[in-house]
């Protein structure tokens, strides 16, 4: 049961993030415009000011604070990395 809830939450997060990215950075593309492991920077999906918009969005949507030293590609540069990062931040808040 817990696994199902967790999976749903994860899917919701992915949907929310993917929708945001497509709406704001790939407006003429479909929701399948990129893979979960595609690098936003390398694929030209999000540029440096786009990262600022993304940061603002995830802070407000998931009620987390992204510290300056966390604004690194390892945390933010693909959908999968974003999800892992956000989940870690949320878990840390709850702990």
């Amino acid at each position: 049961m817990t696994e199902n809830i967790n999976r749903k939450a994860a899917d919701d997060m992915e949907e929310v993030l993917r929708n945001f990215i497509v709406e704001n950075f790939l407006p003429s593309a479909g929701l399948d415009a990129f893979e979960n492991d595609d690098s936003f920077m390398e694929k030209g999906i999000i540029d440096s000011t786009g990262i600022l918009e993304l940061l603002e969005f995830i802070e407000e949507t998931f009620n987390i604070r992204v510290e300056d030293e966390e604004v690194i590609p390892d945390n933010l540069d693909s959908l999968n990395k974003l999800k892992s990062f956000i989940n870690r931040k949320i878990a840390k808040k709850k702990a």
Partner: protein
């Protein structure tokens, strides 16, 4: 050409001849009688002015010095001293009043007060990118730092809207200088000689129709470190040669490295060359003593900045 430590070394005599030939050719093709150079007190404009003098003669070069209330006093001092050394005519026009009238400071400060409500005219400010790209990976995000002049320094990461507000207001400084340069150039039937170097052009560190609003770019093919080499050869004054490169746009001292490039020019230029010319990671690592991750990080940053600033280098398209 094999990548090596001295790959960027130039033959200064040949370079001087080539650039002077270029300047003369452009002058003739534009049917202008001389060159106006904006003298910032920095090494790029100093070198450009020297080259214009060598190409056209000192009587045909006019130096315009355009400080504003937040410029470093060194800028005007060094520009005047170097102009005296070259024997060219100059004029100093303080653009503060113009900037005040178009709301440069007011608009910028309004944005800053959204972040730091206590900010006032006593404060100094700067914006910077994360430092030391080769040691630490980070996306390009700007941080605003303010200093109250009493030991109180605060910083905040800039959100997109705020960054845009500050940059748009600040860029009016360079665009106002362009207006003045063209006033004098057209009055005298001179052309405006740009002073942007290759490192800046490639990475988009200039203002469209600001410092890039010019008739020719005489050092646009030279990396910063090559400009420095040429400066020594041409006899630019020592104060300018030793001066840390800076945009001189903010009231709080900030170097070009802190503001935009995230690494020192000696490393930046070699890496830019390597990136531009497809040098293998292996060769770069071997010659520069870096590891592959560092090189990849630098190349990724260059690609991102180059792509994000492509529109700055474009001429206006039309149907």
């Amino acid at each position: 050409m094999k990548f090596r430590k001295d790959i960027l070394k130039i033959n200064c005599k040949k370079e001087e001849e080539q650039i002077c030939g270029f300047i003369r050719k452009q002058q003739l093709s534009m049917k202008r009688e001389g060159a106006v150079v904006g003298l910032s007190g920095g090494i790029d404009s100093a070198v450009c002015a020297e080259l214009c003098v060598k190409a056209l003669g000192k009587e045909r070069v006019f130096g315009l010095i355009l400080p504003e209330r937040e410029s470093s006093p060194k800028s005007r001092k060094y520009a005047v001293k170097h102009a005296l050394k070259m024997g060219i005519k100059t004029e100093v026009v303080d653009i503060t009043t113009v900037l005040e009238s178009i709301g440069t400071y007011e608009r910028r400060d309004k944005v800053i007060r959204e972040i730091f409500p206590e900010y006032d005219e006593q404060y100094r400010l700067k914006i910077t990118l994360p430092p030391d790209l080769l040691s630490r990976d980070a996306f390009n995000f700007f941080t605003l730092t303010v200093d109250d002049g009493k030991g109180g320094v605060k910083s905040a990461r800039l959100k997109k809207e705020m960054l845009n507000g500050i940059v748009a207001a600040t860029n009016t400084k360079q665009r106002t200088r362009m207006v003045h340069l063209y006033y004098y150039a057209e009055k005298m039937n001179y052309f405006v000689c740009g002073t942007t170097n290759k490192s800046e052009l490639m990475q988009g560190c200039f203002v469209k129709y600001g410092d890039a609003g010019v008739d020719i770019e005489s050092i646009g093919h030279l990396y910063k470190s090559q400009v420095c080499e040429l400066a020594e050869y041409l006899g630019v004054i020592e104060e300018i040669i030793q001066r840390t490169p800076s945009p001189d746009t903010f009231s709080f001292d900030v170097s070009d490295e802190e503001f935009y490039f995230r690494m020192p020019f000696d490393k930046l230029d070699m890496l830019l060359y390597a990136w531009e010319n497809g040098v293998s990671y292996e060769d770069v690592c071997k010659v520069m003593g870096l590891d592959e991750e560092q090189v990849e990080r630098a190349f990724r940053d260059f690609a991102a900045k180059h792509k994000a600033t492509e529109y700055l280098r474009m001429l206006p398209p039309f149907l």
